[in-house]
């Protein structure tokens, strides 16, 4: 054994930041990559159509259990629809909605935060009053009523999800922009004659993206819980479409004879929120060492 070999430990050809991450973070990242894959390819990899009804094999349990069938290794629901296919499509719906809701909310909040910081005075007052207003509303309950009365429209549902949590982004952005604007680099670029939009988008935004990214990871699990809770209550995503919350709400009625119908989608939601929380915590400690706790 040569000396060199003893000094340099053998590494897998992985990026350094990944090999240094704790095991839990690696697992969480892996799971989220898997969920993103499902989000994109759910309809391609599903063994059956998610709404295909197989009445001969209703309420089949997953395979190791008594009475299961190899036609549906992960079991079927009360109408004989394949649980695995439904899980894939349900995950796709929940992930897509949460991603869309989080991103729209972030764009809205960040934009308003920039406007408040840039325009100042009346604009600032108005936007911050709106922020306070949004924060003081029982949004989940309002969403519940709005969905019940305005009906089953995807556009309204997405709008409600986008309005959930935008105020935090606005508050954070406004504060960050106000302090970033007075820093040397921003003053320098402005002194060189750059227009405000250029300074904000090309110089300040990249510099404040860290805390915003952390907020994104906090907001994502909250949004997924928001969607699944509403769908669980029978609002939000409704049959024939499915989401993880809708599956759980349906499965809840069959706890006595088919517990897996509720437990499998429930565990999926739990693992998604858990993974995002772990990733968010890790990201926070990486991006902002002063917050290390």
């Amino acid at each position: 054994m040569s000396v060199m070999e003893r000094i340099t430990p053998r590494r897998l050809p992985l990026p350094r930041w990944l090999t240094r991450a704790p095991l839990a973070v690696t697992l969480a990242a892996g799971f989220m990559v898997l969920m993103l894959f499902v989000m994109v390819f759910a309809r391609v990899i599903q063994p059956y159509a998610f709404d295909y009804i197989d009445l001969m094999n209703r309420m089949a349990p997953p395979v190791p259990l008594e009475g299961s069938t190899w036609l549906h290794p992960t079991g079927t629901d009360t109408l004989g629809r394949d649980l695995f296919s439904r899980l894939l499509v349900g995950t796709q719906t929940s992930m897509l909605l949460a991603l869309l809701g989080t991103c729209l909310g972030a764009v809205l909040g960040v934009t308003l935060g920039f406007v408040a910081a840039h325009k100042g005075r009346l604009w600032d007052e108005a936007i911050m009053a709106l922020v306070d207003f949004q924060a003081a509303m029982p949004w989940f309950i309002i969403a519940l009523a709005v969905l019940a009365f305005l009906g089953n429209s995807m556009v309204i549902f997405i709008a409600i999800m986008a309005l959930y949590g935008w105020e935090t982004y606005a508050r954070i952005t406004r504060g960050l922009v106000l302090s970033a604007r007075e820093q040397g680099y921003a003053l320098a670029v402005r002194g060189l004659g750059a227009r405000p939009r250029w300074v904000y988008l090309r110089h300040i935004l990249p510099n404040i993206s860290g805390p915003l990214l952390v907020q994104l990871t906090v907001n994502f699990p909250a949004t997924i819980l928001f969607e699944t809770s509403l769908s669980f209550l029978g609002l939000g995503i409704r049959p024939p479409m499915t989401s993880l919350g809708q599956m759980l709400g349906e499965g809840r009625d069959y706890l006595i004879n088919a517990w897996w119908l509720a437990v499998v989608p429930g565990m999926t939601i739990f693992f998604i929120t858990l993974s995002m929380s772990i990733l968010g915590d890790w990201l926070r400690s990486k991006l902002d060492p002063s917050l290390e706790d």
Partner: protein, 310 residues
């Protein structure tokens, strides 16, 4: 004093906004006579009900009379069973208050001591254990936790009832479901707040004066660490109301939340409106009280407000 006044005016304004928002969204959702009366009814009967419920007036006129009625404490009549909407809702308040109160007690009694212990033994196995459990706790959706508890304790072990509110036994699972995720959150907030305080110069001063460890923690660290935790507590009440709706539905707990889900399903406008306004009042009151309490605990906030800073 001026600061208190500003806060109160702001709260009243927010309430007015919520009340208006509720009115317009629910009114714009369509003519209630189409939801409540059979489709094949003749137009004259429909008109009779429209004028009976005051739906034939111009929208602004409806809005004005709605506000006046609210000021008189009149929340309208339930379309479903012709009872006063407010009475219907008020009957359910004790049940929800009991559930929320117990959950909050569980959350505080578990979360705060755990957070303090984790902060005092920072980076030990104890700290890591508490933090791991806490991540699991707040990642768990409350409706799923409720279902798991029913599966284990009602269906398998058969030791606790899965629905209703007849005995104290019925309270255990709903309160635990709602309380646990907040216990996890409070543990985290308490821990980071304590860690922050423990590194402050005045803690070093206290140690160099020779104050005993227990005295340093109880008299120097805890009151200061309590400030951010109190703030968060107030804001969590609103979130908890939303959680209560879900948990009450899972456990068939006859509170406001369950009334809301059934009123929403039957499109009982007056009841939904009444619940939303009462919940908004609760939430705004909680937030305002928190603000005031915060100012009282931490005089710097009041001074800052006077100086004109936000």
């Amino acid at each position: 004093m001026r600061w208190t006044l500003i806060k109160t005016i702001r709260a009243a304004l927010t309430l007015l906004l919520v009340v208006s928002f509720v009115f317009f969204v629910l009114r714009l959702s369509g003519d209630p006579t189409y939801m409540l009366l059979p489709d094949d009814i003749d137009e004259a009967t429909r008109d009779f009900y429209r004028s009976k419920w005051g739906l034939d007036a111009p929208l602004f006129e409806q809005y004005r009379s709605y506000l006046v009625a609210l000021l008189h404490g009149d929340f309208g009549i339930s379309f479903r069973n012709n009872l006063d909407a407010f009475d219907l809702v008020w009957d359910r308040v004790p049940k929800t208050a009991l559930l929320m109160g117990t959950s909050l007690l569980i959350a505080l009694a578990m979360g705060i001591p755990l957070g303090i212990i984790a902060a005092l033994y920072r980076d030990s196995w104890l700290d890591r254990g508490v933090m791991t459990v806490s991540v699991f706790g707040f990642s768990m959706p409350n409706f799923f936790l409720g279902i798991l508890l029913i599966l284990v304790f009602s269906l398998n072990l058969r030791v606790l009832p899965s629905s209703g509110s007849d005995t104290w036994w019925h309270l255990i699972m709903p309160a635990a479901t709602l309380g646990i995720s907040y216990a996890a959150q409070f543990a985290r907030y308490t821990r980071s707040s304590m860690i922050d305080v423990l590194s402050k110069p005045y803690m070093r001063t206290a140690r160099s004066k020779g104050a005993a460890p227990a005295r340093r923690v109880n008299l120097h660290a805890l009151p200061n660490a309590a400030i951010p935790v109190v703030t968060i507590l107030g804001f969590k009440v609103g979130e908890m109301l939303g959680g209560a709706v879900v948990v009450e539905t899972v456990f068939a707990w006859p509170g406001i939340g369950r009334l809301l889900t059934s009123a929403v399903a039957t499109r009982d406008l007056a009841v939904v409106q009444c619940i939303m306004i009462l919940l908004a009042i609760t939430m705004i009151a909680a937030n305002t009280l928190t603000d005031l309490l915060y100012g009282w605990l931490d005089p710097r906030v009041r001074v800052g407000a006077k100086a004109g800073a936000r």
